[in-house]
């Protein structure tokens, strides 16, 4: 069966993906809302910046993160000086890399939800005496829940698949930053570990499969809750 190193990689992958996505949800929703509902130059620029990781080579992102988060870097020096936190060569860095790379998928899905939601329904809530914030939580979020779920699962799946930015940013350290794809990469580099590589491939495919299926089921359920059986 799986070796301890492979189990560790699997656990680490899941852990990093969960951390990355959990921290992305709230900023992702805020940014999706701004891009969808606000007009002007700032939302337009934000829109482009948010989507950049989707089209940039992951190695570029990894390298940029390396510069920003190094002890001399803009963010890295701040974190180190004030909180004594260093993300280099640690799982925290891997989570940051995953979060950055998966962020566009999360935002895109949620933005789509905001786009297609009829704002007239929000006006109706507003006219019924709900404040804007109340309306957001009692009407907007439940109405766009299918999009939020899809965004979260897509982002989670993207985190599991993350390779380029991670290896560039935090290297390939077993037990610390070696996620499944990185473990597979290592296995392909060493002669005689074809069996291990095959196992990791199967695990990766199964994980991807399972997460997409779960995403589909959850989104369908949420949709039925809102739309009935019409969809």
């Amino acid at each position: 069966m799986l070796s301890s190193l492979e189990i560790e990689a699997l656990k680490l992958s899941a852990f990093i993906a969960i951390v990355a996505v959990s921290f992305s949800i709230i900023p992702g929703m805020i940014i999706a809302w701004i891009i969808s509902r606000k007009k002007g130059i700032i939302p337009s620029i934000l829109n482009i910046v948010v989507y950049l990781p989707l089209v940039l080579p992951p190695v570029v992102i990894g390298y940029l993160l390396l510069i920003l988060f190094s002890h001399n870097g803009f963010i890295g020096s701040f974190l180190y000086d004030h909180f004594n936190i260093s993300v280099n060569f640690s799982w925290k860095g891997a989570a940051i890399a995953s979060a950055v790379v998966s962020f566009p998928l999360l935002v895109r899905s949620i933005k789509l939800g905001f786009d297609i939601l009829d704002t007239k329904i929000e006006d109706a809530a507003y006219m019924s005496g709900a404040s804007k914030l109340d309306c957001f939580f009692s009407i907007t979020i439940p109405q766009i829940l299918p999009s939020i779920i899809t965004g979260i699962t897509l982002a989670f799946a993207r985190c599991l698949a993350e390779f380029g930015a991670t290896i560039t940013f935090v290297s390939n350290i077993p037990g610390e930053t070696q996620t499944l794809p990185l473990a597979l990469y290592t296995a392909t580099q060493i002669p005689g570990t074809e069996q291990a590589a095959l196992r990791l491939v199967i695990i990766s495919i199964s994980l991807a499969f399972i997460s997409v299926i779960i995403a589909e089921i959850l989104a369908k359920r949420a949709n039925r809750h809102i739309m009935g059986d019409r969809n």
């Binding site: 009829d118 007239k120 329904i121 006006d123 109706a124 809530a125 507003y126 006219m127 019924s128 005496g129 709900a130 404040s131 804007k132 109340d134 009692s138 009407i139 439940p142 109405q143 829940l145 809750h225 809102i226 739309m227 009935g228 019409r230």
Partner: protein, 360 residues
């Protein structure tokens, strides 16, 4: 000053609006006008969804907006029950939770009030259902219920019957009348349909190009010349008032007196001497210069041509005909108009094919 008073000026690009009217407590007031006249804008301004350039909006003696004192209460605190063209229900909630949404946010939970309104609206059987499989009529009734349960100082309905079939429209109109009887709040009913407003309203405000063109009771606005164009699908019609002279129970007809002319309609179940409003579609009125002898049409009225409007492109002519002080419009073809050599002031006979009784 009136406890409900609305006055504002607004300019949105080319559209300019200047409105002033008051609403009597516990009455149904209708706002009507052609599409694009600015009817719905009035609702949005009262609600606070659009901010006017200046003005004063006062409901139930509370000032909601005042440009002089820079007061502008946000929509959610204005206590206005708003029913839109589309029901706008919250599809992730049950009907009951939709109804209680406003109540929870404005007052204490009051099941007795809920039961009362559910009874008026006739929606007891659908309370636990989800909103996505309601029919159009049911959904609109729920929407009215939600607005009423938010304890509003006024109920505003903006074209609430759009998209419903006639029986459902009639049902909702009766419900609105019933609400007015049972729950003492003023109702502002916005509609472009003359039939709806005559059925429902005690006072009518006609809006034209963003301004109040006429206002008053049905009797007072009946002669307003442009009223003929306020109809669904722009089917022109005229309204006239007559009093019942005679009831023929054998042939099921009533004869009414309209400024000396007599009109026969299908039987109206009312006393002799009572007055009724009749609607005559302009396309149902033909013209003859001498009384035709052998014809199935019963209502042949002697009239005088008061005004002529020629629509060359459409090939049609609108003739305004006077019967005493009242006026009706006949729409004929340009060809007939030329053939008959019609002129202003000429005596003609209006052959009225169909008449409907729309109100009292």
């Amino acid at each position: 000053m009136h406890s409900n008073f609305i006055k504002f000026e607004l300019s949105q690009g080319k559209f300019k609006s200047k409105i002033e009217f008051s609403i009597s407590t516990n009455k149904i007031i209708a706002i009507t006008g052609l599409s694009g006249s600015g009817k719905s804008t009035i609702a949005k301004v009262i609600c606070g969804l659009i901010k006017p350039t200046n003005g004063l909006i006062k409901l139930n003696n509370k000032i909601l907006y005042c440009s002089n004192s820079k007061k502008n209460i946000p929509p959610n605190l204005r206590k206005i029950g708003m029913v839109f063209q589309e029901p706008r229900l919250f599809s992730h909630m049950t009907v009951k939770n939709n109804l209680l949404y406003g109540q929870r946010r404005n007052t204490k939970l009051d099941i007795t009030k809920l039961e009362k309104i559910v009874k008026i609206l006739g929606i007891k059987d659908i309370l636990d259902r989800r909103t996505y499989n309601l029919s159009g009529g049911e959904a609109q009734r729920v929407s009215i219920g939600r607005a009423l349960l938010s304890e509003p100082d006024i109920l505003i309905l903006d074209e609430p019957l759009t998209g419903l079939d006639t029986p459902r429209q009639n049902k909702i109109l009766s419900i609105i009348k019933n609400i007015n009887k049972n729950i003492k709040i003023p109702i502002l009913f916005i509609s472009h349909s003359i039939d709806e407003i005559i059925f429902i309203a005690e006072k009518i405000i006609i809006i034209e190009k963003g301004k109040v063109a006429a206002q008053g009771t049905i009797d007072e606005i009946i002669s307003y010349k442009k009223l003929s164009y306020f109809n669904k699908g722009n089917q022109k019609s005229s309204l006239i008032k007559g009093t019942i002279l005679e009831q023929d129970k054998k042939q099921f007809t009533s004869t009414l007196d309209v400024n000396g002319a007599s009109i026969t309609t299908k039987i109206i179940n009312d006393k002799i001497g009572s007055s009724h409003i009749l609607k005559l579609f302009s396309k149902d009125i033909s013209i003859a210069t001498i009384i035709p002898k052998y014809i199935s049409i019963n209502n042949i009225l002697e009239t005088k041509i008061y005004d002529i409007k020629v629509y060359k492109k459409e090939g049609s002519v609108d003739l305004t005909l006077s019967i005493g002080k009242q006026k009706i419009i006949s729409e004929i073809t340009l060809k007939s108009y030329k053939k008959l050599k019609l002129k202003k002031g000429l005596k003609v006979y209006a052959l009225v094919k169909a008449i409907s009784i729309v109100g009292k």
